[in-house]
């Protein structure tokens, strides 16, 4: 377990932790996490995972930085407006920690490419802003046996659930997408920036603790957060035998695209999954 002097110094506060130590830091350096969405959730997750020394971090986004993003997407700066989000995020992560490998992916994840994008990563963070992507990521991760963290935010509220093979998946709780037009978009409903920050960091914490094998993950528990009342509530769940992707009689055998941008910042063509 060799570290350079620079690594020992950089990661000393991690290494000092009994539950991390040199062994844990080596696990982090040898691990890989894919963050899907370099937005409100992905920004804090990307910064903290790079800072912690997760050795390889993929960051997926096909969108460009807009002025209205900067209120919460803290990895992007004013000078980044119009730049590809994945490129902007990768630059900051490399500046923060040149010792980690950052792989920007400027692609829209669809049923046709998601399997190949996620396959080399140990853990996936869903930081997308729409239901079609969330269901696509869930299905691809469940079918591929990939642990992942689901996150969703709106206004002052957030929710997160972690999946590992055998635990309840996102679809065990939410069998189908909400009907089109019934959920306001982030652009319509608003989002307090810190809500994204808090929830994205909880997702990053799940990734770190999964890699380190410490503590208790948010598996079989949906964490619901209300930042108006600063209430955190864990709600118990379990694998649903009728779940179409992980239940006893599976009907979803490969990732599929959905035609319903329910919470995207832009009203794109209905058939597209807007990350």
């Amino acid at each position: 377990m060799d570290f350079t002097e620079e690594q020992v110094e950089r990661y000393s506060r991690n290494i000092l932790l009994d539950d991390v130590g040199g062994t844990g830091q080596r696990k982090l350096l040898d691990s890989s996490v894919l963050i899907i969405g370099a937005g409100g959730l992905g920004s804090p997750a990307a910064l903290y995972l790079a800072a912690a020394g997760v050795g390889t971090i993929g960051i997926v986004d096909d969108d460009h930085v807009e002025l209205s993003n900067l209120q919460r997407q803290v990895i992007h700066f004013t000078s980044d407006i119009s730049r590809p989000k994945a490129e902007s995020a990768a630059e900051k992560m490399r500046l923060l920690n040149p010792g980690v490998t950052v792989i920007p992916v400027m692609e829209r994840l669809m049923a046709g490419n998601i399997v190949s994008v996620i396959k080399d990563y140990d853990f996936i963070i869903d930081g997308t802003d729409n239901f079609p992507s969330k269901f696509l990521i869930n299905d691809a991760c469940v079918l591929g046996g990939k642990p992942f963290s689901h996150g969703g935010i709106l206004r002052f509220y957030g929710q997160t659930l972690t999946y590992v093979p055998g635990s309840a998946c996102y679809r065990c709780l939410f069998q189908t997408l909400p009907p089109r037009g019934t959920v306001p978009s982030c652009g319509e409903a608003g989002i307090l920036g810190v809500v994204a920050g808090i929830l994205g960091m909880i997702q990053a914490s799940e990734a770190l603790r999964y890699i380190l094998g410490i503590g208790e993950l948010l598996t079989n528990r949906l964490l619901y957060m209300d930042q108006l009342t600063v209430e955190f509530r864990k709600l118990n769940t379990k694998p649903n035998p009728n779940c179409p992707v992980c239940g006893e009689n599976r009907t979803i055998l490969e990732p599929v695209d959905y035609e319903q941008p329910a919470c995207s910042l832009k009203e794109g063509p209905a058939a597209k999954v807007n990350l």
Binding site: F131, G151, L154, F174, Y224, N236, T237
Partner: protein, 74 residues
């Protein structure tokens, strides 16, 4: 039988935060919320006594039904 309904996030602003309902035996999650005026498409997930429950689950006296809207931003 008596069932307490707790609404979360936007639902509690639009309807109420917590209310006790007197309902008939056999009342389900869906039928209680229907009769409360909360439309099917306005909520996304329901828990009974802190455990995930689907909309067809029958309620029992003393149950607490927690109701959440969809939260899908990022």
């Amino acid at each position: 039988m008596k069932v307490t309904v707790k609404l979360f996030a936007t639902l509690k602003k639009d309807y109420f935060e917590s209310r006790e309902f007197d309902c008939a035996d056999g009342t389900t999650v869906r039928s209680l919320l229907d009769s409360s005026g909360i439309k099917d498409r306005e909520y996304h997930i329901t828990f009974v006594n802190g455990r995930h429950a689907d909309r067809n689950e029958k309620l029992k006296d003393g149950d607490t039904l927690s109701v959440f809207p969809a939260v899908g931003g990022g």
